[in-house]
Protein backbone atom coordinates (compact mmCIF):
# COMPACT_ATOMS: atom_id res chain seq x y z
CA UNK A 1 0.00 0.00 0.00
CA UNK A 2 2.75 2.40 1.06
CA UNK A 3 4.87 1.28 -1.88
CA UNK A 4 1.98 1.97 -4.28
CA UNK A 5 1.46 5.37 -2.73
CA UNK A 6 5.14 6.32 -3.07
CA UNK A 7 5.64 4.75 -6.51
CA UNK A 8 2.40 5.87 -8.13
CA UNK A 9 0.43 8.52 -6.24
CA UNK A 10 3.25 10.67 -4.87
CA UNK A 11 4.13 11.90 -8.35
CA UNK A 12 0.79 13.47 -9.33
CA UNK A 13 0.45 14.77 -5.77
CA UNK A 14 3.80 16.54 -6.16
CA UNK A 15 2.67 18.18 -9.40
CA UNK A 16 -0.55 19.28 -7.68
CA UNK A 17 1.52 20.89 -4.92
CA UNK A 18 3.66 22.63 -7.56
CA UNK A 19 0.47 23.92 -9.24
CA UNK A 20 -0.89 25.29 -5.95
CA UNK A 21 2.43 26.98 -5.16
CA UNK A 22 2.53 28.64 -8.55
CA UNK A 23 -1.15 29.60 -8.43
CA UNK A 24 -0.43 31.42 -5.16
CA UNK A 25 2.51 33.05 -6.82
CA UNK A 26 0.41 34.34 -9.73
CA UNK A 27 -1.69 36.32 -7.25
CA UNK A 28 1.39 38.38 -6.36
CA UNK A 29 3.62 38.18 -9.40
CA UNK A 30 1.87 39.00 -12.67
CA UNK A 31 4.80 38.07 -14.87
CA UNK A 32 4.36 35.58 -17.72
CA UNK A 33 7.08 33.21 -16.50
CA UNK A 34 5.00 32.25 -13.44
CA UNK A 35 1.82 31.80 -15.46
CA UNK A 36 3.57 29.60 -18.04
CA UNK A 37 5.04 27.42 -15.31
CA UNK A 38 1.68 27.20 -13.56
CA UNK A 39 -0.05 26.05 -16.75
CA UNK A 40 2.64 23.41 -17.33
CA UNK A 41 2.32 22.03 -13.79
CA UNK A 42 -1.46 22.03 -14.03
CA UNK A 43 -1.32 20.00 -17.25
CA UNK A 44 1.37 17.76 -15.71
CA UNK A 45 -0.74 17.19 -12.59
CA UNK A 46 -3.69 16.05 -14.70
CA UNK A 47 -1.50 14.01 -17.03
CA UNK A 48 0.42 12.20 -14.32
CA UNK A 49 -2.78 11.54 -12.40
CA UNK A 50 -4.00 9.80 -15.56
CA UNK A 51 -0.60 8.05 -15.81
CA UNK A 52 -1.08 6.72 -12.27
CA UNK A 53 -4.53 5.46 -13.17
CA UNK A 54 -3.05 3.64 -16.18
CA UNK A 55 -0.60 1.85 -13.86
CA UNK A 56 -3.51 0.57 -11.77
CA UNK A 57 -5.06 -0.72 -14.98
CA UNK A 58 -1.72 -2.41 -15.89
CA UNK A 59 -1.33 -0.31 -19.03
CA UNK A 60 1.79 1.39 -20.41
CA UNK A 61 2.04 5.01 -19.35
CA UNK A 62 5.54 5.81 -20.61
CA UNK A 63 4.16 7.77 -23.60
CA UNK A 64 2.83 10.41 -21.18
CA UNK A 65 6.35 10.97 -19.80
CA UNK A 66 7.79 11.14 -23.31
CA UNK A 67 5.04 13.51 -24.41
CA UNK A 68 5.48 15.89 -21.45
CA UNK A 69 9.24 16.08 -21.88
CA UNK A 70 9.15 18.98 -24.37
CA UNK A 71 6.60 21.13 -22.46
CA UNK A 72 8.74 20.64 -19.34
CA UNK A 73 11.82 21.88 -21.22
CA UNK A 74 10.00 24.92 -22.62
CA UNK A 75 8.26 25.95 -19.39
CA UNK A 76 11.25 25.51 -17.07
CA UNK A 77 13.79 27.02 -19.47
CA UNK A 78 11.46 29.96 -20.14
CA UNK A 79 11.34 30.59 -16.38
CA UNK A 80 15.15 30.63 -16.29
CA UNK A 81 15.27 32.91 -19.34
CA UNK A 82 13.09 35.47 -17.56
CA UNK A 83 14.95 35.11 -14.26
CA UNK A 84 18.52 35.45 -15.52
CA UNK A 85 19.72 38.97 -16.34
CA UNK A 86 22.60 39.17 -18.73
CA UNK A 87 22.53 38.52 -22.45
CA UNK A 88 25.16 35.79 -22.05
CA UNK A 89 23.02 33.92 -19.50
CA UNK A 90 19.93 34.19 -21.68
CA UNK A 91 21.95 32.81 -24.59
CA UNK A 92 22.91 29.82 -22.44
CA UNK A 93 19.20 29.20 -21.77
CA UNK A 94 18.41 29.40 -25.48
CA UNK A 95 21.23 26.97 -26.18
CA UNK A 96 19.75 24.39 -23.80
CA UNK A 97 16.26 24.85 -25.22
CA UNK A 98 17.64 24.34 -28.73
CA UNK A 99 19.63 21.28 -27.62
CA UNK A 100 16.59 19.62 -26.07
CA UNK A 101 14.28 20.48 -28.97
CA UNK A 102 16.77 19.17 -31.55
CA UNK A 103 17.15 15.95 -29.57
CA UNK A 104 13.36 15.57 -29.35
CA UNK A 105 12.86 16.09 -33.09
CA UNK A 106 15.74 13.78 -34.06
CA UNK A 107 14.53 11.09 -31.65
CA UNK A 108 10.98 11.16 -33.08
CA UNK A 109 12.34 11.00 -36.64
CA UNK A 110 14.78 8.16 -35.94
CA UNK A 111 13.02 6.08 -33.31
CA UNK A 112 9.36 7.10 -33.45
CA UNK A 113 7.29 6.17 -30.43
CA UNK A 114 9.18 4.61 -27.52
CA UNK A 115 7.79 1.88 -25.30
CA UNK A 116 9.95 2.86 -22.35
CA UNK A 117 10.67 6.21 -20.73
CA UNK A 118 13.13 8.31 -22.74
CA UNK A 119 16.12 8.29 -20.38
CA UNK A 120 18.36 10.39 -22.58
CA UNK A 121 15.73 13.13 -22.85
CA UNK A 122 15.20 13.39 -19.11
CA UNK A 123 18.94 13.13 -18.40
CA UNK A 124 19.47 15.99 -20.83
CA UNK A 125 16.74 17.95 -19.06
CA UNK A 126 18.42 17.22 -15.69
CA UNK A 127 21.79 18.46 -16.92
CA UNK A 128 20.19 21.55 -18.46
CA UNK A 129 18.25 22.53 -15.35
CA UNK A 130 21.15 21.77 -12.98
CA UNK A 131 23.53 23.88 -15.07
CA UNK A 132 21.05 26.75 -15.28
CA UNK A 133 20.57 26.54 -11.50
CA UNK A 134 24.31 27.04 -11.03
CA UNK A 135 24.20 29.98 -13.45
CA UNK A 136 21.39 31.49 -11.36
CA UNK A 137 23.32 31.04 -8.09
CA UNK A 138 26.36 32.66 -9.68
CA UNK A 139 24.19 35.60 -10.73
CA UNK A 140 22.78 35.81 -7.20
CA UNK A 141 26.22 36.01 -5.64
CA UNK A 142 27.46 38.57 -8.17
CA UNK A 143 24.53 40.95 -7.61
CA UNK A 144 24.19 41.54 -3.89
CA UNK A 145 21.34 43.88 -3.00
CA UNK A 146 19.43 44.85 0.10
CA UNK A 147 16.78 42.13 -0.36
CA UNK A 148 17.26 38.95 1.63
CA UNK A 149 17.69 35.79 -0.43
CA UNK A 150 15.24 33.77 1.64
CA UNK A 151 12.49 36.24 0.76
CA UNK A 152 13.07 35.53 -2.92
CA UNK A 153 10.73 32.91 -4.46
CA UNK A 154 13.09 32.35 -7.41
CA UNK A 155 15.81 31.18 -5.01
CA UNK A 156 13.55 28.58 -3.40
CA UNK A 157 12.09 27.30 -6.68
CA UNK A 158 15.48 26.95 -8.33
CA UNK A 159 16.94 25.31 -5.21
CA UNK A 160 14.05 22.84 -5.34
CA UNK A 161 14.81 22.18 -9.03
CA UNK A 162 18.47 21.56 -8.25
CA UNK A 163 17.61 19.08 -5.50
CA UNK A 164 15.18 17.21 -7.75
CA UNK A 165 17.01 17.21 -11.09
CA UNK A 166 20.51 16.63 -9.73
CA UNK A 167 19.29 13.98 -7.29
CA UNK A 168 17.33 12.17 -10.02
CA UNK A 169 20.00 12.35 -12.70
CA UNK A 170 21.26 8.77 -12.38
CA UNK A 171 17.70 7.45 -12.06
CA UNK A 172 16.77 9.15 -15.34
CA UNK A 173 19.97 8.07 -17.02
CA UNK A 174 19.70 4.36 -16.23
CA UNK A 175 15.96 3.74 -15.89
CA UNK A 176 15.22 2.81 -19.49
CA UNK A 177 18.35 0.63 -19.65
CA UNK A 178 17.21 -1.27 -16.56
CA UNK A 179 13.71 -1.60 -18.03
CA UNK A 180 15.08 -3.02 -21.30
CA UNK A 181 17.22 -5.49 -19.31
CA UNK A 182 14.19 -6.99 -17.53
CA UNK A 183 11.76 -6.93 -20.47
CA UNK A 184 12.59 -10.54 -21.35
CA UNK A 185 11.66 -11.92 -17.93
CA UNK A 186 9.69 -9.02 -16.33
CA UNK A 187 9.06 -10.83 -13.04
CA UNK A 188 7.13 -9.30 -10.15
CA UNK A 189 10.29 -8.89 -8.05
CA UNK A 190 11.99 -7.03 -10.88
CA UNK A 191 9.02 -4.71 -11.32
CA UNK A 192 8.98 -4.08 -7.53
CA UNK A 193 12.69 -3.15 -7.63
CA UNK A 194 12.10 -0.73 -10.48
CA UNK A 195 9.13 0.74 -8.66
CA UNK A 196 11.33 1.28 -5.59
CA UNK A 197 13.78 3.13 -7.81
CA UNK A 198 11.00 5.24 -9.28
CA UNK A 199 9.72 5.75 -5.73
CA UNK A 200 13.05 7.39 -4.84
CA UNK A 201 12.55 9.70 -7.81
CA UNK A 202 9.03 10.53 -6.58
CA UNK A 203 10.30 11.28 -3.07
CA UNK A 204 12.79 13.76 -4.51
CA UNK A 205 10.02 15.30 -6.62
CA UNK A 206 7.74 15.50 -3.59
CA UNK A 207 10.50 17.10 -1.50
CA UNK A 208 11.07 19.79 -4.12
CA UNK A 209 7.30 20.44 -4.45
CA UNK A 210 6.96 20.84 -0.67
CA UNK A 211 9.88 23.29 -0.58
CA UNK A 212 8.27 25.29 -3.40
CA UNK A 213 4.83 25.32 -1.76
CA UNK A 214 6.07 26.23 1.72
CA UNK A 215 8.26 29.03 0.39
CA UNK A 216 5.40 30.34 -1.75
CA UNK A 217 3.01 30.33 1.23
CA UNK A 218 5.53 31.91 3.56
CA UNK A 219 6.56 34.67 1.15
CA UNK A 220 2.93 35.41 0.19
CA UNK A 221 1.67 35.73 3.78
CA UNK A 222 4.79 37.52 4.94
CA UNK A 223 4.23 40.22 2.33
CA UNK A 224 0.65 40.63 3.47
Amino acid sequence: MFRNFVAILLEPLSYILFSIALLLRTTIEKRAKVKVLFIYYLIAAVSFSYAGWLVFKNQNNNWIYNLLYLPAVVAICYYFHETLYSRRNKTIVKFFIALNVIYFVVRIMLFGKLVVIDSIAYSLLSISVSFLSFVYFYQLLRNVNEYKVWANFDFWLISAYLLYFLGSFFIFLLYSNLTYNILATYTLEQRILLSVLWGVHNVLLFLSSVITLVSSLWITYRNR
Binding site: L166, F170, L193, L197
Partner: protein, 265 residues
Protein backbone atom coordinates in the same frame (compact mmCIF):
# COMPACT_ATOMS: atom_id res chain seq x y z
CA UNK B 1 17.86 -10.45 -10.04
CA UNK B 2 20.85 -9.93 -7.71
CA UNK B 3 22.52 -7.93 -10.45
CA UNK B 4 19.44 -5.77 -10.84
CA UNK B 5 19.10 -5.18 -7.11
CA UNK B 6 22.79 -4.26 -6.91
CA UNK B 7 22.35 -1.80 -9.75
CA UNK B 8 19.28 -0.28 -8.08
CA UNK B 9 21.16 0.09 -4.78
CA UNK B 10 24.09 1.79 -6.53
CA UNK B 11 21.75 4.17 -8.34
CA UNK B 12 19.96 5.04 -5.09
CA UNK B 13 23.27 5.67 -3.29
CA UNK B 14 24.45 7.86 -6.17
CA UNK B 15 21.18 9.80 -6.07
CA UNK B 16 21.49 10.34 -2.34
CA UNK B 17 25.06 11.50 -2.84
CA UNK B 18 24.03 14.00 -5.52
CA UNK B 19 21.18 15.14 -3.29
CA UNK B 20 23.63 15.82 -0.46
CA UNK B 21 25.90 17.70 -2.90
CA UNK B 22 22.93 19.80 -4.05
CA UNK B 23 21.95 20.59 -0.44
CA UNK B 24 25.55 21.52 0.33
CA UNK B 25 25.74 23.87 -2.65
CA UNK B 26 22.44 25.55 -1.74
CA UNK B 27 23.53 26.01 1.88
CA UNK B 28 26.88 27.46 0.77
CA UNK B 29 25.13 29.92 -1.53
CA UNK B 30 22.72 30.87 1.24
CA UNK B 31 25.47 31.45 3.82
CA UNK B 32 27.78 33.30 1.41
CA UNK B 33 24.98 35.55 0.20
CA UNK B 34 24.08 36.36 3.81
CA UNK B 35 27.70 37.33 4.53
CA UNK B 36 27.82 39.49 1.41
CA UNK B 37 24.57 41.15 2.44
CA UNK B 38 26.02 41.90 5.89
CA UNK B 39 29.19 43.28 4.33
CA UNK B 40 27.20 45.57 2.03
CA UNK B 41 25.17 46.85 4.99
CA UNK B 42 28.30 47.50 7.03
CA UNK B 43 29.85 49.32 4.09
CA UNK B 44 26.72 51.47 3.74
CA UNK B 45 26.79 52.26 7.46
CA UNK B 46 30.47 53.23 7.28
CA UNK B 47 29.69 55.50 4.34
CA UNK B 48 26.86 57.16 6.28
CA UNK B 49 29.08 57.62 9.35
CA UNK B 50 31.87 59.09 7.22
CA UNK B 51 29.52 61.54 5.50
CA UNK B 52 28.17 62.59 8.88
CA UNK B 53 31.70 63.17 10.10
CA UNK B 54 32.50 65.23 7.00
CA UNK B 55 29.40 67.35 7.54
CA UNK B 56 30.28 67.91 11.19
CA UNK B 57 33.81 68.90 10.16
CA UNK B 58 32.46 71.37 7.60
CA UNK B 59 30.17 72.96 10.18
CA UNK B 60 33.00 73.18 12.68
CA UNK B 61 35.23 74.85 10.10
CA UNK B 62 32.45 77.26 9.21
CA UNK B 63 32.04 78.19 12.88
CA UNK B 64 35.74 78.73 13.19
CA UNK B 65 35.75 81.02 10.17
CA UNK B 66 32.94 83.11 11.66
CA UNK B 67 34.88 83.33 14.94
CA UNK B 68 38.00 84.42 13.04
CA UNK B 69 36.08 87.16 11.19
CA UNK B 70 34.49 88.30 14.43
CA UNK B 71 37.87 88.37 16.18
CA UNK B 72 39.56 90.28 13.34
CA UNK B 73 36.80 92.87 13.24
CA UNK B 74 36.78 93.30 17.01
CA UNK B 75 40.51 93.23 17.68
CA UNK B 76 41.94 95.11 14.71
CA UNK B 77 39.40 96.94 12.60
CA UNK B 78 37.04 97.85 15.41
CA UNK B 79 39.88 99.08 17.64
CA UNK B 80 41.39 101.24 14.88
CA UNK B 81 38.05 102.85 14.00
CA UNK B 82 37.17 103.41 17.69
CA UNK B 83 40.50 105.12 18.21
CA UNK B 84 39.97 107.22 15.08
CA UNK B 85 36.55 108.30 16.36
CA UNK B 86 38.03 109.20 19.75
CA UNK B 87 40.73 111.26 18.09
CA UNK B 88 38.18 113.09 15.91
CA UNK B 89 35.98 113.76 18.96
CA UNK B 90 38.88 115.46 20.78
CA UNK B 91 39.76 117.77 17.86
CA UNK B 92 39.50 121.49 18.56
CA UNK B 93 40.16 124.43 16.26
CA UNK B 94 41.92 126.32 19.07
CA UNK B 95 45.29 124.59 18.66
CA UNK B 96 46.12 124.25 14.90
CA UNK B 97 49.30 122.22 15.49
CA UNK B 98 47.56 119.67 17.68
CA UNK B 99 44.64 119.66 15.24
CA UNK B 100 46.98 118.70 12.34
CA UNK B 101 48.57 115.95 14.46
CA UNK B 102 45.16 114.55 15.32
CA UNK B 103 44.06 114.66 11.66
CA UNK B 104 47.22 112.75 10.64
CA UNK B 105 46.69 110.23 13.42
CA UNK B 106 43.04 109.71 12.40
CA UNK B 107 44.07 109.28 8.75
CA UNK B 108 46.63 106.61 9.74
CA UNK B 109 44.11 104.77 11.90
CA UNK B 110 41.42 104.81 9.17
CA UNK B 111 44.04 103.73 6.64
CA UNK B 112 45.04 100.82 8.90
CA UNK B 113 41.39 99.82 9.26
CA UNK B 114 40.97 99.85 5.47
CA UNK B 115 44.18 97.80 5.04
CA UNK B 116 43.00 95.28 7.66
CA UNK B 117 39.63 95.02 5.90
CA UNK B 118 41.38 94.42 2.58
CA UNK B 119 43.55 91.70 4.13
CA UNK B 120 40.52 90.09 5.72
CA UNK B 121 38.67 90.15 2.41
CA UNK B 122 41.65 88.70 0.60
CA UNK B 123 42.04 85.94 3.19
CA UNK B 124 38.41 84.95 2.87
CA UNK B 125 38.37 85.10 -0.92
CA UNK B 126 38.86 81.50 -2.06
CA UNK B 127 39.04 82.46 -5.74
CA UNK B 128 42.10 84.53 -5.00
CA UNK B 129 43.83 81.51 -3.50
CA UNK B 130 42.79 79.02 -6.20
CA UNK B 131 43.72 81.42 -9.02
CA UNK B 132 47.24 81.95 -7.72
CA UNK B 133 47.86 78.38 -6.62
CA UNK B 134 49.06 76.99 -3.32
CA UNK B 135 52.80 77.74 -3.52
CA UNK B 136 52.33 81.36 -4.69
CA UNK B 137 49.63 82.01 -2.06
CA UNK B 138 51.95 80.69 0.65
CA UNK B 139 54.83 82.76 -0.70
CA UNK B 140 52.62 85.89 -0.57
CA UNK B 141 51.78 85.13 3.06
CA UNK B 142 55.48 84.73 3.80
CA UNK B 143 56.25 88.10 2.10
CA UNK B 144 53.69 89.84 4.33
CA UNK B 145 55.18 88.14 7.38
CA UNK B 146 58.73 89.09 6.37
CA UNK B 147 57.68 92.74 5.90
CA UNK B 148 55.79 92.90 9.19
CA UNK B 149 58.16 90.98 11.45
CA UNK B 150 61.73 89.82 11.93
CA UNK B 151 61.33 86.13 11.21
CA UNK B 152 63.98 84.42 9.17
CA UNK B 153 61.97 82.35 6.71
CA UNK B 154 63.37 79.67 4.43
CA UNK B 155 61.39 78.04 1.64
CA UNK B 156 62.58 74.80 0.02
CA UNK B 157 60.92 73.05 -2.94
CA UNK B 158 61.70 69.42 -3.82
CA UNK B 159 60.56 67.81 -7.07
CA UNK B 160 58.69 69.24 -10.06
CA UNK B 161 55.82 71.41 -8.90
CA UNK B 162 52.27 70.54 -9.96
CA UNK B 163 48.82 71.89 -9.16
CA UNK B 164 46.48 70.07 -6.82
CA UNK B 165 42.69 70.16 -6.98
CA UNK B 166 41.15 73.52 -6.00
CA UNK B 167 39.60 72.22 -2.80
CA UNK B 168 42.82 70.49 -1.77
CA UNK B 169 44.90 73.65 -2.31
CA UNK B 170 42.40 75.77 -0.42
CA UNK B 171 42.25 73.46 2.58
CA UNK B 172 46.04 73.02 2.75
CA UNK B 173 46.40 76.80 2.59
CA UNK B 174 44.00 77.19 5.53
CA UNK B 175 45.95 74.61 7.53
CA UNK B 176 49.14 76.51 6.69
CA UNK B 177 47.57 79.76 7.91
CA UNK B 178 46.50 78.07 11.15
CA UNK B 179 50.03 76.66 11.66
CA UNK B 180 51.55 80.07 10.94
CA UNK B 181 49.19 81.76 13.42
CA UNK B 182 50.26 79.26 16.08
CA UNK B 183 53.95 80.03 15.39
CA UNK B 184 53.32 83.78 15.67
CA UNK B 185 51.21 83.57 18.81
CA UNK B 186 52.88 80.85 20.84
CA UNK B 187 56.26 79.67 19.59
CA UNK B 188 58.59 82.66 20.22
CA UNK B 189 60.51 81.36 17.22
CA UNK B 190 63.00 83.34 15.17
CA UNK B 191 63.28 80.98 12.20
CA UNK B 192 60.57 79.34 10.14
CA UNK B 193 61.27 76.70 7.47
CA UNK B 194 58.74 75.69 4.86
CA UNK B 195 59.29 72.65 2.66
CA UNK B 196 57.25 71.70 -0.42
CA UNK B 197 57.77 68.13 -1.56
CA UNK B 198 56.22 67.25 -4.95
CA UNK B 199 56.29 63.49 -5.43
CA UNK B 200 54.36 61.54 -8.14
CA UNK B 201 52.48 59.59 -5.44
CA UNK B 202 52.05 62.24 -2.74
CA UNK B 203 52.44 65.91 -1.84
CA UNK B 204 54.05 67.03 1.44
CA UNK B 205 54.01 70.46 3.07
CA UNK B 206 56.16 70.82 6.16
CA UNK B 207 56.20 73.88 8.43
CA UNK B 208 58.86 73.88 11.12
CA UNK B 209 60.11 76.49 13.60
CA UNK B 210 62.85 76.82 16.18
CA UNK B 211 60.50 77.97 18.89
CA UNK B 212 59.85 76.80 22.44
CA UNK B 213 57.82 73.81 21.34
CA UNK B 214 55.12 72.28 23.51
CA UNK B 215 53.92 69.02 25.00
CA UNK B 216 52.03 67.29 22.19
CA UNK B 217 49.88 65.32 24.65
CA UNK B 218 47.90 68.48 25.58
CA UNK B 219 46.48 68.51 22.06
CA UNK B 220 44.33 65.56 23.05
CA UNK B 221 42.43 67.82 25.44
CA UNK B 222 39.76 69.11 23.11
CA UNK B 223 38.71 71.85 25.54
CA UNK B 224 42.07 73.65 25.37
CA UNK B 225 42.50 76.39 22.76
CA UNK B 226 45.49 74.60 21.31
CA UNK B 227 43.42 71.42 21.18
CA UNK B 228 40.62 73.13 19.26
CA UNK B 229 43.01 74.70 16.73
CA UNK B 230 44.75 71.42 15.99
CA UNK B 231 41.39 69.63 15.91
CA UNK B 232 40.29 72.03 13.16
CA UNK B 233 43.50 71.34 11.27
CA UNK B 234 42.79 67.61 11.54
CA UNK B 235 39.17 68.07 10.46
CA UNK B 236 40.31 70.03 7.41
CA UNK B 237 42.90 67.36 6.60
CA UNK B 238 40.22 64.64 6.87
CA UNK B 239 38.08 66.45 4.30
CA UNK B 240 40.72 65.87 1.64
CA UNK B 241 41.96 62.51 3.04
CA UNK B 242 45.31 64.03 3.95
CA UNK B 243 47.42 62.95 6.88
CA UNK B 244 48.63 65.58 9.37
CA UNK B 245 51.31 64.98 11.98
CA UNK B 246 52.63 67.36 14.63
CA UNK B 247 55.96 66.72 16.27
CA UNK B 248 57.22 68.94 19.03
CA UNK B 249 59.42 68.96 22.07
CA UNK B 250 59.76 71.73 24.60
CA UNK B 251 62.82 73.86 23.57
CA UNK B 252 63.22 71.89 20.32
CA UNK B 253 60.69 73.60 18.10
CA UNK B 254 57.71 72.20 16.25
CA UNK B 255 57.20 70.47 12.91
CA UNK B 256 53.77 70.34 11.27
CA UNK B 257 53.64 67.95 8.32
CA UNK B 258 50.75 67.55 5.89
CA UNK B 259 50.90 64.55 3.55
CA UNK B 260 48.36 64.21 0.74
CA UNK B 261 48.18 61.23 -1.63
CA UNK B 262 47.89 62.38 -5.24
CA UNK B 263 46.98 60.72 -8.49
CA UNK B 264 48.60 62.53 -11.35
CA UNK B 265 47.15 60.35 -14.17
Amino acid sequence: MDNLSQQVVVIIISSVFLLVVAIGIILLVFIYQKKQHLYVREKEQLKVDFEKQILESKLEIQEQTFRYISQEIHDNIGQALSLAKLTINTMTANDPQKLNEKIDSSKKLVGKAIEDLRNLSRNLNTDYITDLGLSISIENEIKILRNASQYEIEVVTEGDAYRLQHQQELIIFRIFQEALQNIIKHSRATCIAIRFCYNPGWFILEISDNGVGFDVSILNESKSRGGIGVLNMRHRANLISADITIESNPENGTVVKIKLPVNLT
